[in-house]
């Protein structure tokens, strides 16, 4: 007989509880482009589960790095990199290499 460790059971229980009763609205994908040393304004209405596609249109190495360290996306010249928004809240971000390049994501709770 297999004994399920108590902590694993607790984890499974927590995971079950986390599943919402109502079906989720389909997650959306939004682009935030970098052009000429600037992040385009972040889209409004972002929700947990949505995807940001970072697009570096510059010829320089950039990054999208959250001040709270919740994400750190390296963006080589001409790169497209996708990031799934994992949690709600307001996150200020900047380019690690060019500290003057900044932006802010406002992420709402998952849509129902």
């Amino acid at each position: 007989m297999t004994v399920i460790p108590r902590w694993l059971g607790a984890l499974a229980g927590a995971a079950l509880l986390a599943v919402p009763a109502a079906p989720l609205a389909a997650p959306k994908t939004y682009q935030i482009a970098i052009q000429q040393m600037k992040f385009a304004p972040a889209p409004s209405g972002l929700k947990v589960g949505d995807t940001i596609e970072w697009v570096n249109d510059d010829i320089f190495l950039h990054s999208a790095t959250a001040r709270d360290k919740s994400f750190d996306v390296e963006l080589r010249p001409k790169a497209h990199v996708r990031l799934v928004l994992a949690r709600a809240g307001t996150v200020d971000f900047a380019c690690r290499y060019h500290p003057g390049m900044t932006g802010r994501l406002v992420v709402g709770k998952q849509a129902r």
């Binding site: 000429q36 040393m37 010829i59 320089f60 190495l61 010249p77 290499y97 060019h98 003057g100």
Partner: protein, 172 residues
């Protein structure tokens, strides 16, 4: 400070063009000046990477080497595409002379003294180059693609200047 003066002098040739019609820099000269300005900052960054142990200074120096190399690669590709041969000129020569003197004086410094002198010079250098780009090089550039690349360069270098000023302020 001395470096800033030397560079300011170096740019008077180009700036003088505003008065004397004939002295306005041509596109081949503008390309040469912009490329030279980039090469100088790459060399300064490499010197800093060889001498500095300060992480913030090294990160900045890496950024200078990477960004200015990227702009210059683009510039080389552009002049090749346009069939333009960059033309040496007194402004480029003065810039090179001032930069060689600066490399020599910085080579005598170590540790915090080096870091401070490097960053202070980066502030002064970017300020001067940005002034020259905005008032002389960009307005006189005839080719639209060259003008566009110079404008991209100016946006980049302004960010570099702000970054250097931030580092300089943090060091006071």
């Amino acid at each position: 400070m001395l470096k800033a003066l030397a560079i300011a002098t170096a740019f008077t040739f180009a700036a003088g063009g505003a008065c004397a019609q004939a002295a306005k820099p041509t596109d081949p000269q503008i390309a040469h000046i912009a490329y030279t300005a980039g090469v100088i900052d790459v060399a300064a960054g490499k010197q800093a990477l060889a001498r500095s142990k300060d992480k913030a200074v090294r990160d900045f120096a890496s950024e200078m080497v990477r960004d200015h190399t990227a702009v210059n690669d683009q510039a080389l590709a552009l002049v090749k595409k346009l069939g333009v041969t960059p033309q040496d000129n007194p402004t480029s020569q003065s810039l090179n002379k001032a930069a060689a003197d600066k490399l020599t004086s910085l080579a005598k410094l170590d540790g915090k003294a080096f870091d401070k002198a490097y960053i202070d010079n980066e502030v002064a250098y970017h300020k001067t180059v940005n002034g020259a780009l905005a008032t002389v090089l960009i307005p006189n550039a005839q080719n639209a693609e060259l003008k566009g690349l110079l404008e991209t360069g100016l946006k980049l270098f302004k960010e570099h200047q702000a970054h250097a000023e931030h580092l300089a302020a943090a060091r006071r």
